[in-house]
Each structure stands twice: as C-alpha cells, then as structure tokens.
C-alpha cells in the first residue's frame, strides 16, 4: 500500500491507552478496528496518520453481555457477532434489522460497532437503532473513563466529543422490555452492499393503549445521525392514531436537512423520511396492540 504508517499491536486495552496517551496531534495516530473504513481511507489518502494502534482483536473490547437489565457490547464486537449471538432476540429488533442489511458477509465479519460509531458517517447503519434504544457509550483514556448518551456523542459532520487519547470501549443500552417494539429500515439503491440513502429507526413502548416512550432516529439526512425530539414528544402520552403518526412523520421530515448527492436528491430523501417514519411507527404501534413484539 502506498500510504506509510507504523502499526502498534498492544496486547491489552491498557497498553493501547498508554500509547494513545502519548499522542499530541489528533491526525498523527488513529485506532484501527476492523479497518473496513480506515484502510479504504488510508488508501484514498483521505487520512494520513503516522501511527495506527490496532484494537480490533483486544479481548478487553470483545464480548456481549446480558444482565442487570442491560445489553452491553465491547467496542470491537463485530456485526457478525451481533447476528450470530444466541440471545440476539434480546438486543432490540431495530439493531438486528440494521445488522442484517449491513454491507456483505465479509465486511460484517470484520466491521466493529465502535468503528461504525467512530467513523462518524451520517450513513452509519448501527447508529440510528442504537439511538432509538437509548445507547450509552463508554470512552476510556489512561487517566480514567466516562460514559455519555450516544445522543450527546456527535458534535457535527465526522466530529464528536471523543478526545484523541480516548478509545470507545463499550456500548450498552437498557434491554428492551416486553411491551416495546423497535424497527429499522435502510433505503438504498440496491439490497446488498450499498450506502444508505435514508435510514430510519423507531422504538416505541405502550402501556394501557398509551405510548409511554417514543424514539425516532434518522440516518443519512443530516450532518450527523440524530433523534427527532419534537416528533418523539408529540407521540409520548398519547394513543398513536393515524393522524398523530402522520404529524410526527411530517415533523421528522421537516427536521431533516438532506443534501443532493449521486445517490439521491435532498428532496427525495426528505419525502422518504416522511414515508418511512410513518410506516415504521404504524407497524411498531400495530405490533404492540396485537400483543406481539417485533
């Protein structure tokens, strides 16, 4: 490969954090997860770090844990590991749905959850479901660790609150309870291996005919993947009648700020936000009233 860099392969998370602690310039050093974004970017010279720190196979960043009402995944958990897990039905259907339409098999075998979040792409497919599931991310540096809602992680296009000396070591969220439903839809030019044109995740909880919790997250229609809080607020505390769902979908389309690009026009994307939010909310709500939880 034309791009030149050194590659460090620490044996444990602590060693990786010690190496990162020495970094002065953000551009000088980057963590390497599965490399499915980074190697492409290195070859295209979109980035030119002097040093890569390989973290994709560190045992401290692996493993999926269920317990104490939480689903918790190490940063280096791959998309395939999510799909193959025997308890995957407890993770939240929106996340499984996103993992199923994520890339092709070979990329899924190496692509990690931290890499998907940290690449900062507005089209990152795991992010809308994780937002809809109220995911929390843990950032660690050699001096300590902090946790924050994924909703507070992104600060702008490909920028985040992560400091150059921090690793994203874990992502966790409350295990979706009975009486809740979540869905994800990826609109793309074709089914396999295509970049998302619009991604929508919704999650709803229902008690006694009333929506007690609503989350709507949109991918690929703004500089960052984001929740649509005004639309969520319209739904919570109400029975989701078709008119209300339609109004929430309209609010979501309004908040989106999609651009024109080679894959679709901004106008088309915004129209699809409306259609998809309406569709997913209706389906999720219907599934709850039928007492079956998708």
């Amino acid at each position: 490969m034309y791009a030149e860099f050194d590659l460090l392969t620490p044996a444990a998370v602590g060693g990786a954090l010690d190496e990162l602690a020495k970094v002065e310039n953000e551009e000088d050093c980057m963590p390497l997860g599965g490399g499915t974004n980074l190697v492409v970017d290195l070859r295209a010279r979109a980035v030119a770090p002097k040093v890569l720190i390989s973290v994709g196979r560190l045992s401290g960043l692996r493993g999926i844990e269920l317990g104490e009402g939480r689903v918790s995944m190490g940063g280096a958990v791959t998309v395939s590991e999510i799909l193959r897990h025997p308890e995957r039905s407890r993770f939240g259907p929106a996340l499984i749905g996103a993992a199923q339409v994520f890339a092709g098999q070979m990329v899924r075998n190496t692509a990690t959850i931290a890499g998907n979040i940290c690449c900062g792409s507005p089209a990152a497919d795991l992010v809308p479901p994780l937002l809809a599931l109220d995911a929390v991310v843990r950032l660690e540096c050699s001096a300590g660790s902090r946790e924050l809602p994924l909703a507070d992680y992104f600060t702008g296009y490909k920028s985040s609150v992560r400091k150059p000396n921090e690793l994203l070591t874990r992502v966790w969220w409350p295990e979706p309870p009975a009486g809740s439903a979540s869905l994800f839809y990826k609109l793309a030019r074709r089914k396999g291996d295509a970049i998302t044109v619009v991604g929508v995740a919704v999650s709803l909880a229902r008690e006694n005919g009333i929506c007690t919790r609503a989350r709507i997250a949109l991918g690929a229609v703004a500089p960052v993947v984001e929740r649509v809080r005004p639309a969520e607020a319209m739904l919570e505390g109400n029975a989701l009648e078709p008119d209300l769902i339609e109004a929430a979908a309209r609010a979501a389309a309004q908040q989106s700020s999609p651009i024109d690009d080679v894959r679709a026009s901004g106008k088309y994307r915004r129209q699809q936000v409306f259609v998809l939010v309406r569709r997913l909310l209706s389906r999720a709500w219907r599934s709850l009233s039928e007492g079956d939880h998708p």
Binding site: M1, A3, E4, F5, D6, L7, T9, L32, G34, G35, T36, V39, V40, L42, R43, A44, L52, S54, G56, R57, S80, A103, G104, Q105, M106, V107, N109, T110, K191, G192, D193
Partner: protein, 160 residues
C-alpha cells in the same frame, strides 16, 4: 516503518514472513506467496474478488493488513482442493453448471459459497443470494453461480 515477522498458517502450511506495517494481506498472498488465485479487483471492499477465509470466516484480503494475520489460519482458493488435487464439490458444481465465464469473480464466489455451505449445509436460493451479495460478477448474471451453490449443498447432504 520496521519490518515485522508474522506467523500464520496458509492452506494448512505454517508460514513465517517479513512484512511492512502497511502491507496488505492480499499483496502478501499474491506477490510473496505467489498464490494468484485470490484476485485483486477493486481494492476498496466492493467486489469480493479478494475473499479468503481467516479462521474459517470469509474476509476481504484487500482490507486486511498482513500484520493482522499473526497466529491465524488462512485458506485461499488454492487450499480448497483435497489431497491429490481432488476438487471441492463446489468447484465441481461450478464446472457442471458452466458457472464460469471470464472467471475473475470465481475464486471469491467459491470461497463465499464454501463458507455458506459450512455454516448452512442446504441453503435456500434466497440464503445463497443474500450470502453472496458482496461478491460481484459482471458476466454470468449469477443464476448459474447460485445454482452451483445449491447443487453442491444438495450433493453434500446426500453424501452424508
């Protein structure tokens, strides 16, 4: 950029090679090991022509750094045939169905089909198409490739 010694198994043979941090596994396989069955198509993860198995799972050799091969088991298309050169049932099925035109996608397709059959012995057509979706063919229109995977699965199941 210091050279590294990397040890791995390639088609069952232990190997120890010297690589640079920025060497791609694909280049080590093709240029150093002279196993040119694994193809260099797009180089950016889009085509699947470079697919090899690492520890039994298909991955793209164009996106793997060679250093990451340390301690792992790598199988390329050259490693599928059994002792004495007997073809894998999937390779036989490709021949029977005429599933090869220019042949550039064939190694990747066979490595993918093999991985699927190892996971899901008798896949449906939909399962085959979904599993192969990251591997592109510009010649055949896929029908004969998909059929070959289905046929090989049926044949292997019958032989069991």
């Amino acid at each position: 950029m210091n050279d590294r010694r990397v040890r791995f198994t390639l088609n069952g043979e232990p190997r120890e090679v010297s690589v640079k941090p920025n060497d791609l596994l694909l280049n080590v396989i093709r240029d150093d090991e002279k196993l040119t069955g694994t193809k260099y198509g797009c180089g950016i993860g889009e085509c699947g022509a470079c697919t090899v198995h690492i520890d039994g799972r298909p991955v793209l050799a164009c996106l793997e750094l060679a250093v990451a091969a340390e301690g792992r088991e790598i199988v390329t298309i050259e490693g599928l045939a059994g002792n004495g050169g007997a073809l894998d049932p999937l390779q036989e099925a490709f021949l029977d169905n005429g599933a090869v035109q220019c042949g550039f996608c064939t190694p990747g397709m066979i490595m993918m089909g093999r991985a699927l059959l190892d996971e899901t012995p008798e896949p449906s057509e939909a399962e085959v198409r979904d599993y192969l979706r990251g591997t592109l063919c510009r010649c055949t229109g896929y029908a004969s490739i998909v059929q070959s995977v289905i046929d090989a699965g049926a044949k292997e199941a019958a032989a069991d």
